[in-house]
């Protein structure tokens, strides 16, 4: 019981949008497709909806085990919400939501009272009952997106596909709507895929996150897995909030600017150039060089606004910039000042030998 794509390839001219992508979404799951622009995430979503067809080959799109690869969009029973909503401007909110029911052939079209009841229920679900007779042009962006969702849900789709559902909204509405989507999913448990380029959004909302890059799935896993164990330097870098140090792997350690950090997981690696990733909250600052391996750095700027303090630093030996994040308590205890020299300890270090590329 799932929505599945197998070996989907799609080229636009010479541009490879999807390169043998396979992905399985379990029934009732909420999965985010996360990637930079041009990574193929929207194309993948449109392929599942039937708005694009995969290039000929062994590609398959399966809804609950049924092969729908050759079935047109109008018969797939997928719900799709477009990035810019694509509401019908000449129809009221009510009629927009009812559209999918009204276009059904006579034999399967519900009677008028049933249509009205279903739309009323959906209006309640999106909390827009008083606006039923408004036109899309009279709604705010967040309201339009909710109408688009209700319209997609009205046809009782087998899968809900959302293309950058919050992309065109401002930060506050975005956050509210994100939480609302999560709640909605908890209520109706419909298999859902949504596309986003915002890693925070993906990690917060989704049950699982698939990271796409150049038309391939780079990694798929729960938000925790993705955040704590990125499979590649790309994933590490794309999730953001990370420092990058280049160094050299040698005898189960990585040497960064003359300082050697023990990294047991690289013990098998041969002598090679490497990139080490450290999240800012895994950077510790001390005034004295401690028992742990440390290197010297100069504080460039402190910003203590918000729940954590963000520091910009510069390595003394090569001037390379990096960031550190301290809790408010740590910050108050340490009282760092701009221009001051400190010793840096790296609590958690992830090393990728150089032959991986970003």
């Amino acid at each position: 019981m799932s929505v599945e794509v197998k070996n989907v390839t799609k080229k636009f001219g010479s541009f490879m949008a999807l390169d043998r992508v396979s992905l399985k979404v379990e029934s009732g799951e909420l999965v985010a497709l996360l990637g930079p622009s041009g990574s193929g995430k929207t194309t993948l979503l449109r392929t599942i909806a039937g708005l694009e067809f995969p290039d000929p080959g062994d590609a398959q799109v399966l809804f609950y085990g049924e092969d729908v690869t050759a079935i047109p969009a109008s018969e797939r029973k997928a719900g799709f919400a477009f990035q810019h909503y694509a509401l019908f401007g000449h129809l009221s909110v009510f009629e927009n939501i009812a559209f999918g029911l009204r276009v059904r052939p006579k034999a399967t079209r519900p009677p008028e009272p049933d249509i009205r009841a279903r739309v009323a229920k959906l209006l309640q679900l999106i909390q827009l009952e008083p606006l039923a007779q408004r036109f899309p042009s009279q709604l705010s962006g967040g309201q339009r997106q909710r109408v688009a969702l209700a319209r997609a849900l009205a046809v009782e789709p087998k899968v809900l596909l959302l293309d950058e559902p919050f992309g065109a909204l401002d930060a506050k509405v975005r956050k509210d709507l994100r939480r609302w989507l999560r709640q909605l999913h908890e209520e109706i448990h419909i298999t859902t895929l949504f596309v986003t380029h915002d890693q925070e959004e993906a990690l917060e909302v989704a049950d699982r996150v698939a990271i796409l890059r150049n038309g391939r799935v780079e990694q798929i896993g729960t938000p925790e897995e993705i955040y704590d164990h990125p499979a590649s330097p790309f994933v590490y870098d794309f999730l953001g909030n990370v420092n990058l140090f280049s160094g050299r792997v040698k005898d189960g350690a990585v040497v960064i600017g003359g300082t050697s950090f023990a990294t047991p997981e690289t013990s098998g690696e041969r002598d090679a150039d490497a990139i080490a990733f450290v999240r800012p909250h895994d950077v510790r600052l001390t005034r004295e060089p401690g028992a742990q391996t440390t290197f010297a750095a100069r504080i460039v700027r402190c910003n203590a606004a918000g729940p954590v303090a963000n520091l910009e630093l510069e390595r003394v030996h090569d001037g390379g910039p990096f960031a550190a994040q301290l809790s408010k308590e740590e910050f108050q205890l340490l009282q760092p000042k701009a221009g001051e020299q400190m010793f840096v300890e790296l609590k958690k270090l992830k090393v990728f030998p150089e032959d991986y590329s970003i």
Binding site: A49, G50, L51, P72, A73, S74, E75, R76, K77, A78, G79, F80, F82, H84, A86, L87, F88, G89, H90, F99, G100, V103, R104, F135, P136, S137, Q138, L139, S140, G141, R151, A152, A154, V155
Partner: protein, 309 residues
């Protein structure tokens, strides 16, 4: 004694002064030039059409309009427009739909071809039809050939005395050719700007192609379509060049309104010519009125869509 209230020296307000506005003299001069030009080339001729038309009194005016030749010309013009405009409407929507919603090879060639009637002199388009369908043209040669291919077709055309040139079909063909860019040209940019998202949304919601067209596409383009139809109709009724080549100008039979005006003028019946011309001038005024109304509605709709976030 109270001390004098301090006076505030505010900068003198000199009307609305924007960086882009000109001095009053320049503004008046520009407006004056524009008005003089308009009067000379538009208002004066328009007024003179109506004064000339009524120069011999309302009785003569009515007599000219009621004349069987004039009535026949009016009828022919209306029939030609009634056939050409709906056909061009269908063609224009098809062409615009194809160009705006699909990507295919030769799209630019099609776009250029649609503009062809605008760039070709109407007389030439008329001549093309004479060369293709005339008695000495391809059709004539085919019908007069000793052993025509598809003899049943040749016989059928001969038996039913189907004539194209110097008859209604020729006039309709020439009118269609000359007016076909109007609807398409109006709709292509509109449909391109609207994109495919709403159609795609309708498809995913289960609508058939036909339902998508009638329920989503047509409501979105209706004002643009109406605008195109109005312009197309005005041109179809007023077309002279192409129709004059193919019509044969048989009075009471193949004369359209513009041709009838020329005929009256050639007869030195100037008042009569102007009387009939005033009908076309009235049509132009009605067209302008309709155009304003449509533009107003269209703009209001667009504003509503743009002003909202």
């Amino acid at each position: 004694m109270t001390p004098a209230a301090p006076t505030l020296h505010l900068p003198r307000r000199t009307g609305r002064h924007h960086a882009t506005s000109e001095s009053p003299l320049v503004r008046r001069l520009l407006i004056g030039v524009a008005l003089a030009f308009l009067s000379l080339f538009l208002f004066v001729p328009l007024i003179s059409v109506f004064t000339q038309a009524l120069a011999k009194g309302i009785g003569f005016y009515a007599h000219t309009i009621m004349d069987p030749m004039t009535v026949s010309a009016i009828k022919l013009t209306l029939i030609a427009a009634a056939i050409a405009v709906p056909l061009n409407c269908v063609f224009g929507v098809c062409a615009a739909w194809t160009i705006a919603k699909f990507d295919f090879r030769g799209k630019n060639i099609l776009l250029t071809l649609i503009d062809l009637p605008f760039s070709v002199s109407p007389v030439i388009s008329g001549l093309i039809y004479v060369l293709v369908f005339g008695a000495q043209g391809w059709l004539g040669l085919y019908l007069n050939a000793d052993h025509a291919k598809f003899p049943w077709l040749a016989n059928w055309l001969n038996d039913h005395d189907i004539k194209i040139i110097f008859a209604l079909p020729g006039i309709v063909l020439a009118t269609i050719f000359v007016t076909f860019p109007f609807v398409a040209r109006e709709l292509i940019p509109l449909m391109q700007a609207q994109g495919r998202n709403e159609e795609e949304a309708a498809r995913v919601l289960g609508a058939s192609g036909w339902q998508t067209f009638w329920r989503v596409t047509v409501p979105n383009i209706k004002w643009g379509l109406l605008y195109g139809v109005i312009l197309c109709n005005a041109r179809a009724m007023g077309e002279f060049g192409a129709v004059s080549v193919v019509s044969g100008k048989i009075r009471g039979q193949t004369n359209t309104l513009p041709l009838h005006i020329e005929a009256l003028y050639d007869d030195y019946n100037f008042t009569g010519a102007f009387a009939v011309a005033s009908l076309l001038a009235l049509l132009a005024l009605v067209t302008l009125g309709l155009k304003l109304w449509v533009e107003h509605n269209h703009a209001a709709l667009n504003d509503a869509q743009i002003s909202s976030p």
